[in-house]
């Protein structure tokens, strides 16, 4: 079933704290803005739960189909950071990905920040079931007669 709305962009508004969705009405092709005030949310709230609540909200969920829960979580984190007095620059910097960082060591919220960032690429490269060239069991053979040895294997071979 195709949703009548497709979210194009999402963002936040600090006052009053709201999530903003720019979406297209699939039938009329009209682009509209929806401002969703964030209720029962404070600087002590759990962003993950708040995001889940919004994602499943009966009045808003149809507009949020194309917005992942982790994107919503990220927006809530930005709102929460603002409530705690952090700047937007600070919030955005905290989403920065360092490929050498051990993410196992992060707290739930710190990890959510990184995952939100990774989701950007995921969504960009994602092939949806609705795409005309979607193949469920897509197979690609990568076996090659000569392969470069992976530099990740080069150093100490402990356990490898």
């Amino acid at each position: 079933m195709q949703m009548p709305f497709e979210a194009k962009r999402c963002g936040v508004q600090f006052s009053p704290p709201s999530i903003v969705i720019i979406y297209e009405h699939k039938e009329t092709k009209k682009v509209r803005k929806r401002v969703i005030p964030v209720r029962n949310f404070s600087k002590y709230s759990d962003c993950n739960m708040a995001a889940e609540r919004l994602k499943n909200h009966p009045r808003h969920r149809d507009y949020l189909e194309a917005v992942t829960q982790s994107q919503l979580e990220k927006l809530h984190i930005i709102l929460k950071d603002h409530m705690q007095g952090f700047s937007l620059v600070h919030s955005l910097a905290s989403f920065h990905l360092d490929p050498d960082e051990d993410l196992n060591k992060l707290s739930d919220e710190e990890l959510a920040r990184k995952k939100g960032q990774m989701d950007k690429l995921f969504e960009k490269n994602r092939r949806h079931t609705a795409d005309p060239n979607f193949v469920y069991d897509l197979e690609v053979d990568f076996t090659k007669p000569t392969t470069d040895r992976c530099s990740w294997d080069d150093e100490s071979d402990d356990g490898f």
């Binding site: 050498d100 196992n104 990890l111 990774m118 490269n125 690609v140 040895r149 990740w152 294997d153």
Partner: protein, 218 residues
């Protein structure tokens, strides 16, 4: 501890002894895309069961292997990997293991050896594979060879949960191997180990001094 064990048995791991039931576990660092892979394979039919107390997510799936219908429970971590180690019940009665790393993060590849070591402590014989996820980020990685697992003869897959490359193939092959493993009566290694553990346990109970409660699991 008794409460803890009672809780785990609520998951009713006995059912995995039945012929038509297999348990497949996922291992790997935080944010390598384990859940995303599950969701890509199961598509719309996925109904994950969150067991947040155990930092665990279960996905149920029905598959046809040959002429048989099997119920597959996929066990996915929900942050438990943060402790660099999984609770023994995670491995208990597993029939196959999918180990995942992120091709964009070397540390997740390096950590495979720790995950594999822990897996083999609990499940020395079950089929296992190595999955290189997120190849959509940079297809050039597929020209490289990743040697971890080669010595152990583990199958290797380049996959992308985002565009779907090789995801279904990998899951289907692992389900088949899990079922084969379960049906292969010559492979009695696990039972032997089980017996040994029980034996250990009995001895310890006799001593009644030190207790190793983790072993009660098995």
């Amino acid at each position: 501890m008794a409460g803890d064990l009672g809780g785990i048995s609520e998951l009713d791991q006995k059912k995995y002894d039945a012929d038509e039931q297999v348990k497949i576990i996922c291992l790997g660092d935080s944010a390598v895309g384990k859940s995303k892979l599950m969701e890509r394979f199961l598509m719309d039919q996925y109904r994950p069961q969150q067991l947040s107390t155990y930092a665990l997510t279960l996905y149920k799936h029905t598959a046809t292997v040959g002429s048989k219908t099997v119920t597959v429970d996929f066990w996915d971590t929900a942050g438990q990997e943060r402790f660099q180690s999984m609770h023994p019940s995670y491995y208990h009665k597993a029939h196959a293991c999918i180990m995942v790393f992120d091709v964009q993060r070397k540390i997740t590849y390096k950590n495979l050896s720790n995950w594999y070591k822990e897996l083999r402590e609990y499940r020395p014989e079950i089929p296992c594979c190595v999955v290189a996820n997120k190849i959509d980020a940079d297809l050039k990685v597929t020209q490289r060879s990743f040697n971890f697992g080669k010595k152990q003869g583990l199958p290797f897959y380049f996959v992308s949960a985002a565009d779907g490359t090789n995801v279904v193939k990998m899951f289907r092959e692992m389900i088949k191997r899990a079922v084969d493993y379960k049906q292969n009566p010559s492979d009695f290694m696990d039972e032997v180990l089980q017996e040994l553990e029980n034996f250990d346990l009995e001895k310890k109970e006799d001593n009644s001094g030190e207790e190793d409660e983790l072993k009660v699991e098995s």
